[in-house]
Amino acid sequence: MKNFIISLFNPVLTWLNSIYTNLREASVPAARPIDLSQYLGIFGYLGPSWTTFITTGFLLGSIYLIVYMVVVNRGLLIKFKDLIKWW
């Protein structure tokens, strides 16, 4: 009886276990950032002025993206505030 139940559940359990381990292993490389500096070394040939142009572009782009995220999620922030007020 016990062996029958084990044979019934073990495939499911091993499958779930493999999903779990794969997810655990995948979350470590997902948290690593992409270092774009390693791909932009070629533009060093163009001199310091073009370099400042490129770095300024990336800096402003990152600022724009962060502001964009804040503005897009403004409704969420307001909802959170309302929740705290109600509480």
Binding site: A31, G44, L60, I63
Partner: protein, 164 residues
Amino acid sequence: MNFIEKIIAGFQAVLSFLGNIFSNVFDFFGDVFQKLFDIIAKPLQLLFDLLEAIFFFFLKLFEIGVMIIKIFTAFFQYVYALGQGIFRTISSWSHISVSKGTSFPSASGQGFNAVIEILQPTGLMTVVPIVATAFLWLFFVIKILGLLGGDISVSPFKSGGGEK
């Protein structure tokens, strides 16, 4: 003396008689219970096996539930790690460094250097990028202001002024 001994012997006889009776009774009940247990043992064993199987089944179900919960936590960790990676990538754009010397193969490196030397007096390497940087600043300032303003739409590189 003789009389007392007789009385004691009588008591002993009575006691032994009672003892025999009780031992017989106990033996009888012991036999009965033994038979009863022998009869009951088989179905009890079956019942015990059934109960064990049912509880083992529930144990396995519980294990699967725990596994599913663990998978969900791992999934949320994965989503969180993904968001963290994206955020770290975006924040690493704010301090990017281009000056990592790439070494071309010799012939193409010489070609690049020659082209750059030719372009040096035309201002393509100095003046144009500075102007382009200024336009970049202007573009992003207008874009971010438009973003913060909400329904203000600014198009910086159209013929300005008149229409809208």
